[in-house]
């Protein structure tokens, strides 16, 4: 059915405005997990999301490049340890994404 009235058109435009970076399922899982905690390490996220190390690394790099997450690499007892946390921008983007999705699926 063609979109005739302006109200329906505006609603459909909201879908186009959804953050595609977060909308991808694997990244959405990562963002959701980091949203409910203060920080988590790579291993914990891997176990929670079920992603492979390479997959998780690839997605977290994209989120880091967008400024949504912060990745801190450190050494604990001479062993590498990677901590991840949501930035303020990431937290805001995730909240916006949730609100948009609720609005679209209302």
């Amino acid at each position: 059915m063609p979109v005739s009235d302006s109200g329906s058109s505006e609603e459909l435009q909201q879908i186009a405005g959804i953050d595609r970076l977060i909308h991808e399922p694997a990244r959405l899982m990562i963002m959701a997990y980091l949203y409910v905690v203060e920080s988590a390490d790579f291993l914990f996220l891997m176990r929670q999301t079920g992603l492979t190390p390479g997959n998780l690394s690839s997605h977290t790099s994209k989120l880091e490049a967008a400024g949504y997450i912060e990745i801190v690499k450190e050494f604990v007892d001479k062993k590498p340890h990677t901590m991840l946390r949501l930035t303020d921008a990431g937290r805001g983007a995730f909240q916006d994404y949730r609100e948009q999705m609720m609005e679209v699926l209302r």
Partner: protein, 181 residues
């Protein structure tokens, strides 16, 4: 809202998984099991320190032995002021309940009455940490522990022992053993 419920569930699952090593429960069980034995001992002051630093001791062990396997997660900290106020109000409520109970069934100025009822006192105090663990993890097992701690506390308070202290020690050993489970 579904989205809110799901995020809460994710948080609870993350909490449950972060506690899957059971170290905190083992620590709590050990503290409970030995608490009664040291209650009248001069080293009890050091025991208080052990309780205060229990979280840090567990964290130290986790850093070395269990985090490398299950991963590390840090949760948002509760407002310390709100937490302390909550703990304080809860303990005041427990003392008021105990005061009322003892004044009905005995004499509040009689110290031995307080010793006799101490299992129930600790049983009600334990409801606090069990309720907290239940709300964080969503695991109904902790609700069962909370109910059990009060019921057993009442049982050990009403049961006849050679001394009130024996009832308290037996109660704490039993609750410590249950926490290990």
């Amino acid at each position: 809202m579904t989205q809110n419920i799901n995020l809460k569930e994710i948080e609870k699952k993350a909490y449950r998984d972060s506690q899957q090593d059971g170290l905190m429960e083992v620590m709590m069980g050990l503290i409970l099991m030995t608490f009664g034995g040291f209650f009248y001992s001069p080293i009890f002051a050091f025991y208080i320190l052990l309780i205060v630093f229990a979280g840090r001791i567990v964290e130290f062990i986790r850093r070395r032995y269990t985090h490398p396997r299950i991963g590390f997660v840090k949760f948002h900290e509760e407002n310390p002021k709100d937490a302390m106020t909550g703990v304080f109000l809860f303990e005041v409520a427990v003392i008021v309940i105990m005061f009322t109970l003892i004044s009905i069934f005995g004499e509040v100025t009689d110290y031995s009455q307080w010793v006799d009822w101490s299992p129930l006192f600790f049983g009600m105090i334990l409801v606090g940490p069990f309720a907290h663990a239940q709300s964080r993890s969503g695991n109904v097992r902790y609700t069962g522990y909370a109910i059990l701690s009060v019921v057993l506390g009442l049982f050990f308070s009403l049961a006849e022992f050679a001394s009130g202290r024996t009832g308290l020690i037996l109660y704490l050993v039993l609750m410590g053993g249950i926490s290990f489970h």
